[in-house]
């Protein structure tokens, strides 16, 4: 298999680069490899789209979980307050 053909087939490597690129810059070689692969592989283009969407979803979901929703019970808070007050004596 020629080097270009190898890149075109290697979805494992392409998806690895797709993930890496979302966090850091790729080397020139990696960028070329990914461009070649994505230009001919619609499945990996779909993977890329879904991967980015998952990232946004994770951030959105957890960002909002932090902003609201979960509350400690008053009972637990009271106990916690007592423990803190005790140690401050």
């Amino acid at each position: 298999m020629g080097p270009i053909k190898k890149i075109q087939y290697d979805c494992r490597h392409a998806t690895y680069l797709i993930e890496k690129r979302q966090h850091t810059s790729l080397t020139i070689r990696e960028r070329i490899e990914l461009t070649i692969h994505l230009s001919g592989c619609s499945v990996c283009r779909l993977f890329q789209q879904q991967s980015r969407w998952i990232n946004r979803m994770v951030r959105g979901l957890f960002g909002s979980a932090e902003a609201q929703a979960n509350k400690l019970s008053d009972e637990f808070k009271l106990q916690l307050q007592q423990k803190i007050d005790e140690r401050l004596k």
Binding site: E19, L72, Q81
Partner: protein, 196 residues
């Protein structure tokens, strides 16, 4: 009157940390932060308590460079990493390692295996916050990941921690870090596709 109030507010802002107010001001925030990353209420509660008690011990180190809230959250963050680490060394991780890892690609050429090839889900543009079912699936799939992968994934995606810091904290090499980021996403995506 209004001027008096202003001076009063200012004195609060610049004052030293006030541990007696912590529970009221920050407990729910810290709890939500912990539960989002741990998925277990009991453990999240324990870590909130540990955070306050640890903060009390080193309250003199608080420099006021950040807000009290940021400072407390940073302490909690390290508690969560510790918890992940314990999960990694505990039964949970062993169990995950025994499970066969899904191999998504052909051994010979790295091409997608037919059965695992991504398919359009029809929800790519959906807002996860507006879709409870989708949010539940995402959470379920995320907490199915092996503890080390989950640690790396949440630290990178939710806290935006520097890669070097994550590698140091979790004792993984840089190349292993990218392998984990890659596998975590492959598994998460496949799980969502299976569950949807």
């Amino acid at each position: 009157m209004s001027r008096e109030k202003e001076t009063h507010d200012q004195s609060i802002k610049t004052s030293r940390p006030d541990p007696r107010q912590w529970v009221e001001r920050y407990a729910d925030h810290l709890y939500s932060y912990a539960i989002a990353r741990l998925g277990e209420e009991e453990q999240a509660r324990d870590l909130v308590q540990e955070t306050f008690l640890a903060a009390l011990e080193k309250v003199s180190e608080f420099r006021g460079n950040s807000s009290e809230r940021t400072w407390l959250t940073a302490i909690l963050k390290y508690k969560i990493i510790d918890a992940y680490r314990k999960r990694n060394s505990g039964l949970r991780m062993q169990k995950m390692e025994e499970e066969p890892e899904l191999e998504f690609f052909e051994e010979s050429n790295g091409h997608w295996k037919e059965a695992y090839s991504p398919q359009t889900l029809g929800i790519e543009g959906a807002d996860p916050l507006a879709n409870k079912e989708l949010a539940a699936i995402l959470k379920k799939c995320l907490f199915k990941l092996p503890a080390l992968w989950l640690s790396v994934f949440t630290m990178k995606h939710l806290d935006n921690t520097a890669t070097e810091t994550i590698c140091k904290e979790l004792k993984v090499t840089t190349s292993n870090f990218w392998v984990i980021i890659h596998r975590a996403k492959l598994n998460l995506r496949a799980c969502i596709q299976r569950s949807w």
